[in-house]
C-alpha cells in the first residue's frame, strides 16, 4: 500500500515516502541496520513504528531527517515533505527541510534542550529562524505555541530553564519546538518512554490533538503496543531492520499475520479484565505472622533548601509467602520504601521491622546476617554487575563474603543457580558485556538468590528491558517464588506487570500510601481516586481491541 496514492502526477505529495530503503553502518560490507524498508505516511495519519531496541526504528527516522553522519550509507528512495533525500541532497535543502518539512522529538526531553538557555528563548529563536518573523512576533508565537502544547503557566515557564521543568513539561517544550516551523511530518522517537503513565497519556492526547489541528503526519516510534493501540491509525512492525508487517491498528492487534508480531502481542503485559481468577497466586501458603513490617515510617532527605519528606506515615506488613507490589510514579516515594526495607535509609520516624527486629542500617555489623535473608534486584543489571568479572564469579561472591562452602561446592552451587534462572553453566564464564540485558538480569537474580534469602526486593527490575524479555523475567520470578518459597516486594511504575505476580499491592502517591489492597480487588474495584487515575492512564491493548 506504499505507492498507490502516488499514481500519475498528483499535485499533493505525501508527508513521507520511503521506498526500499537500506541503511548500512560503514561503507562497503558494513553492518546492515535497515534492510529493504518501505513506509509511507499520509497527511493526518499517525503511524506507529514498533519494534524492540536495535530493530532500526530510530535510525530510520534519523535517516529521513538527514541526521545520520557520513559513516552511514543509505540506499533507496526517501522523500520527506517534497524533498528527496540521499547523499547528493544539498545541505541547504536539508536545513530548510528540518523544522519546516519535518520535525522530530526525542525520548530524553530533559537532555534534548539546551541546558543553559531559557526555554522561551530557545522557542523564540527557533520560531524567528523557521518562520522568518521579527523577534517580537516570534516571542508572541512562542508563547502561543506553549499554550498550544498545554503548558501550565506558559508566561511563567517561558522564563524557566530546562532543569527547572519536569520531564513532561520539557517534552511539551520539545513538541512546541517541533511545531515552530509548521512541519508536515513529525517524527516522535519514544517521546513518552521516560515519562510516568499519567504524563504519558497527557502527551499522547496532546499529539493526537495537534495532529487534528495541524493535519500533520506523525511517525510514532515505540516499543509499547499499548501506546500504539491508543494513539495510532496504522502500525508498522520492525524486526532486525526489516518491515515485518504493516496494517491498521485493528488488523495488527486482532489478527497479526507475522509470528514475531504475535509474540510481541503475547508478551505485552495486559490488565486483567474478565478473568482475574486463575492467574492470581495461591493464598494458601501465606503465613499469618509478618515477615516485614513498616510501622508509621517517615523518611526525610536533607537538601540545600532544608529537609524533604519523601515518605510520610506509611504502615504495611508483608507475610511470609506474600508478594507485594509497590506502585507509584517517579517521586512517589516507592524507591524510598524499598530503601527503608533494605536498611539503606534509616526511618526518620516510625520503625521498619524484619522478623520483629529493627532493620539494621547498611554498613553496621548487624547488617551481614540480615543480608542473608533480604536481597535486592536493582533496575539496571549492567550497573549492578562488575564489568570485569564473569557472571559465575559474581554469583559465587556472596558465598565468598559469607565464607560458605569450599571452592568446589561453590562451583556446584553456582551452576545450580545458573540453571535455576534458566542460564547454562557456559553463561557463567562470560562477562556482563558479552550477554544480553535479560541474561544479565537473570545473573543478578541468581546472585541475589545465592544465600537463599527469605525476601527478594525487586526495584524496577524489568524497567530497562525490552517487552518480550520483561515478560520472561516476570515468569522467572513467579517460578522462583514457588521454588524457593520467597517473599517478594516488586517496586514498579508499570501496573500491567504485577497481576499474576503479586497478590497484594500498595499504591504510593506523593510519599503517602493511598491504597493497600489485594491485587485482584484493586484491579476490579480501585478504592482511591489516584489508583483509578493510574489505571485509566495505562495504554492497554486488550481494552482497545475489545472496544473496536
Amino acid at each position: 500500500m506504499t505507492l498507490e496514492t502516488q499514481n500519475g502526477h498528483c499535485e499533493e505529495h505525501l508527508p513521507l515516502e520511503i521506498d526500499r530503503m537500506s541503511i548500512t553502518l560503514g561503507h562497503g560490507a558494513g553492518l546492515r541496520v535497515v534492510d529493504d524498508f518501505s513506509l509511507s505516511v499520509r497527511k493526518g495519519e499517525i503511524v506507529g513504528l514498533v519494534g524492540e531496541s536495535g530493530s532500526g526504528k530510530s535510525v530510520t527516522c534519523l535517516a529521513a531527517m538527514g541526521l545520520l553522519s557520513e559513516e552511514w550509507q543509505i540506499d533507496g528512495h526517501i522523500q520527506v515533505a517534497n524533498t528527496h533525500i540521499d547523499r547528493t541532497t544539498d545541505r541547504k535543502d536539508l536545513l530548510s527541510l528540518r523544522g519546516r518539512g519535518a520535525a522530530m522529538v526525542f525520548q530524553d526531553a530533559n537532555a534534548s534542550l539546551n541546558p543553559i538557555q531559557k526555554v522561551g528563548k530557545q522557542l523564540t529563536d527557533t520560531v524567528a529562524r523557521l518562520r522568518g518573523v521579527s523577534r517580537s512576533q516570534a516571542r508572541q508565537t512562542a508563547l502561543d505555541l506553549l499554550r498550544q502544547v498545554e503548558m501550565p503557566d506558559p508566561e511563567e515557564r517561558f522564563h524557566s530553564y530546562p532543569f527547572q521543568l519536569s520531564g513532561g513539561q520539557n517534552q511539551r517544550v520539545m513538541i512546541a519546538l517541533a511545531l515552530a516551523g509548521k512541519p508536515e511530518l513529525l517524527f516522535a522517537d519514544e517521546p513518552t518512554t521516560a515519562l510516568d503513565v499519567t504524563v504519558q497519556s497527557q502527551i499522547l492526547n496532546l499529539i493526537r490533538k495537534l495532529r487534528d489541528e495541524t493535519g500533520m503526519g506523525v511517525v510514532f516510534v515505540t516499543h509499547d503496543l499499548g501506546v500504539v493501540s491508543e494513539l495510532c491509525d496504522t502500525v508498522a512492525v520492525m524486526y532486525k531492520g526489516k518491515l515485518l508487517e504493516r496494517g491498521s491498528v485493528e488488523q495488527i492487534m486482532t489478527n497479526p499475520q507475522n509470528d514475531y508480531t504475535k509474540k510481541l502481542l503475547a508478551a505485552m503485559p495486559a490488565l486483567p479484565h474478565d478473568d482475574p481468577g486463575p492467574s492470581t497466586p495461591p493464598q494458601s501458603k501465606i503465613a499469618d505472622e509478618a515477615l516485614l513490617r513498616l510501622r508509621n515510617v517517615a523518611c526525610d532527605y536533607k537538601t540545600r533548601k532544608g529537609t524533604f519528606r519523601a515518605v510520610e506515615d506509611v504502615s504495611l506488613a508483608l507475610r511470609t509467602g506474600d508478594s507485594l507490589a509497590v506502585i507509584g510514579e517517579s517521586g512517589s516515594g516507592k524507591s524510598t520504601i524499598s530503601k527503608l526495607m533494605l536498611g539503606i535509609e534509616p526511618p526518620s520516624e516510625g520503625s521498619a521491622l524484619f522478623e520483629g527486629e529493627p532493620v539494621p542500617l547498611l554498613g553496621t555489623r548487624e547488617y551481614k546476617p540480615f543480608a542473608r535473608k533480604v536481597q535486592l534486584v536493582p533496575q539496571n543489571p549492567y550497573l549492578s554487575l562488575d564489568p570485569r568479572a564473569t557472571l559465575g564469579d559474581q554469583i559465587e561472591e556472596p558465598f565468598v563474603i559469607h565464607g560458605i562452602g569450599s571452592p568446589a561446592e561453590r562451583f556446584v552451587r553456582r551452576n545450580e543457580l545458573l540453571e535455576a534462572v534458566q542460564l547454562t553453566p557456559a553463561h557463567g564464564e562470560r562477562y556482563p558485556h558479552e550477554v544480553s540485558g535479560g541474561q544479565c538480569q537473570r545473573a543478578v537474580i541468581a546472585r541475589a538468590l545465592a544465600l537463599e534469602p527469605k525476601l527478594l526486593i525487586c526495584d524496577e527490575a524489568t524497567a530497562s528491558l525490552d517487552v518480550s524479555v520483561q515478560a520472561r523475567i516476570i515468569e522467572l520470578l513467579q517460578d522462583l517464588q514457588e521454588k524457593f518459597h520467597l517473599s517478594l516486594v516488586f517496586v514498579t511504575h508499570d501496573l500491567r506487570l504485577i497481576h499474576g505476580l503479586c497478590n497484594r499491592v500498595a499504591v504510593m502517591c506523593k510519599g503517602e500510601l493511598v491504597e493497600l489492597n489485594r491485587t485482584d480487588a484493586m484491579f476490579a474495584n480501585p478504592r482511591h481516586p489516584y489508583t483509578r487515575e493510574l489505571l485509566a492512564a495505562i495504554p492497554d491493548v486488550l481494552s482497545q481491541s475489545a472496544a473496536e
Partner: protein, 310 residues
C-alpha cells in the same frame, strides 16, 4: 548566591593566611639575611648588631606576631639593603608584569579557543591532527627553552626583534609567546575535548532537527556549554602565568615582579619576598574567585543551586 560568595571569600582569606605563614617560616628557617648580605669576613659583632637592629635574633613566634601586627597597619616591612618600604619596591614592578601576564592571558585564549574548536569540529581530519601535534609540542617545550630559542632565531640570527627591553609593543612579542604557548596548548586540548563531548549531546542533535545551521549550533549552543568546564582550566592558567612570568622575565630581562622575586630570594630580602608571595597568592585567589563567579553567571544550574543538569 551571596552566601556562596561569602563562603568562597572566607576560604580565600584562609588560603592567603596559610601561604603567608608558610613562606614566613620557610624563609627564616632556610637562611639568614645578614650573612647573605655581608661579605664572609665581616666581624661577627657587626653581623650580630645588624640582626639586633632588624629584630632577627628574636624568637620566630615573636617575629611572626610582629609581622601580622605591622601588616594590620599596612606596613609590609622595609628592604634591608636600602631601607625602602618593600611595598613600594614591589608596586613599581607591578605594571611591567601585569602588561606581560595580561597580554599572555589574552594570547592563551586567542590561540587556545579557536584551535580547540577547529580541532573538535574537524575531528579526525588533518586539521585536528595538526592542531593536536602542535599542542603536544607546545606544552612539552619548557618555556625557558622556548624563550632562548626565540632569542636565538629572531634576535641573534634574523635580527628582527630585540632580545630584551620593555619600552615598545614589539618588545612584548617574544616574552608573550614564551609565556603563553604552553597554556594555549593546554586550553586547546581542553576546549577540544569538552566541545567533542557537547557536540555528542542529545540537545545538539535536537538543534539540528530544528533546522539550525551547523555554524549556529557551534557558536550559540555548543561553545557556551563547552566553555563551562574550560573555565576551570582557565583559572589554573593564572597560576601557570604567574610562575611562568618568573622564568620569562628572567630570560628576557623583563623588569617585572618575577625577576624581583628571584633577586630578592637570593639576597634574602625577606620583606620583599613576602610581599610578592602575598600579592601573587592574592591574585591567584582572586582569579579563582572570578572563575567561581563566572560559573554562576554562565551556568544557570549553579545559580539556582541544583548542581546537576537533571
Amino acid at each position: 548566591m551571596t552566601r556562596i560568595i561569602l563562603r568562597k571569600l572566607f576560604r580565600a582569606a584562609l588560603t592567603l593566611f596559610l601561604v603567608v605563614t608558610f613562606v614566613f617560616f620557610v624563609l627564616r628557617i632556610t637562611g639568614d639575611p645578614v650573612s647573605a648580605m655581608m661579605p664572609d669576613d665581616t666581624d661577627p659583632a657587626i653581623m650580630e648588631q645588624l640582626r639586633e637592629q632588624w629584630g632577627l635574633n628574636r624568637p620566630l613566634g615573636v617575629q611572626y606576631a610582629e609581622y601580622w601586627k605591622n601588616l594590620a597597619t599596612g606596613d609590609f616591612g622595609n628592604a634591608y639593603r636600602d631601607g625602602r618600604p618593600a611595598l613600594d619596591i614591589v608596586l613599581e614592578r607591578v605594571p611591567a608584569t601585569l602588561k606581560l601576564t595580561l597580554t599572555g592571558f589574552l594570547f592563551i585564549l586567542l590561540i587556545g579557543f579557536p584551535m580547540g574548536i577547529a580541532a573538535a569540529v574537524n575531528r579526525g581530519s588533518a586539521v585536528d591532527r595538526l592542531i593536536m601535534t602542535l599542542s603536544v609540542t607546545g606544552f612539552s617545550l619548557p618555556n625557558f627553552f622556548l624563550g632562548i630559542l626565540l632569542i636565538l632565531v629572531f634576535s641573534v640570527n634574523l635580527r628582527w626583534l630585540p632580545a630584551f627591553g620593555s619600552g615598545h609593543w614589539y618588545n612584548l612579542i617574544m616574552p608573550v609567546i614564551t609565556l603563553g604557548t604552553a597554556g594555549g596548548a593546554v586550553i586547546a586540548r581542553y576546549v577540544r575535548s569538552s566541545m567533542l563531548e557537547v557536540l555528542n549531546a542529545p540537545y545538539i542533535r535536537a538543534a539540528r532537527a530544528c533546522g539550525m545551521s551547523e555554524r549556529a549550533i557551534i557558536w550559540t549552543v555548543a561553545l557556551p556549554n563547552a566553555a563551562i568546564p574550560s573555565i576551570t582550566v582557565i583559572g589554573f592558567m593564572v597560576g601557570a602565568l604567574i610562575s611562568g612570568s618568573i622564568v620569562t622575565e628572567t630570560v628576557f630581562a623583563w623588569p617585572g615582579i618575577g625577576r624581583l622575586l628571584i633577586d630578592s630570594v637570593s639576597s634574602r630580602e625577606l620583606a620583599v619576598v613576602q610581599t610578592i608571595v602575598m600579592m601573587t597568592a592574592a591574585s591567584m585567589v582572586i582569579a579563582n574567585l572570578t572563575v567561581d563567579i563566572l560559573y554562576l553567571i554562565i551556568d544557570p544550574r549553579q545559580r539556582y543551586g541544583t548542581g546537576s543538569g537533571e
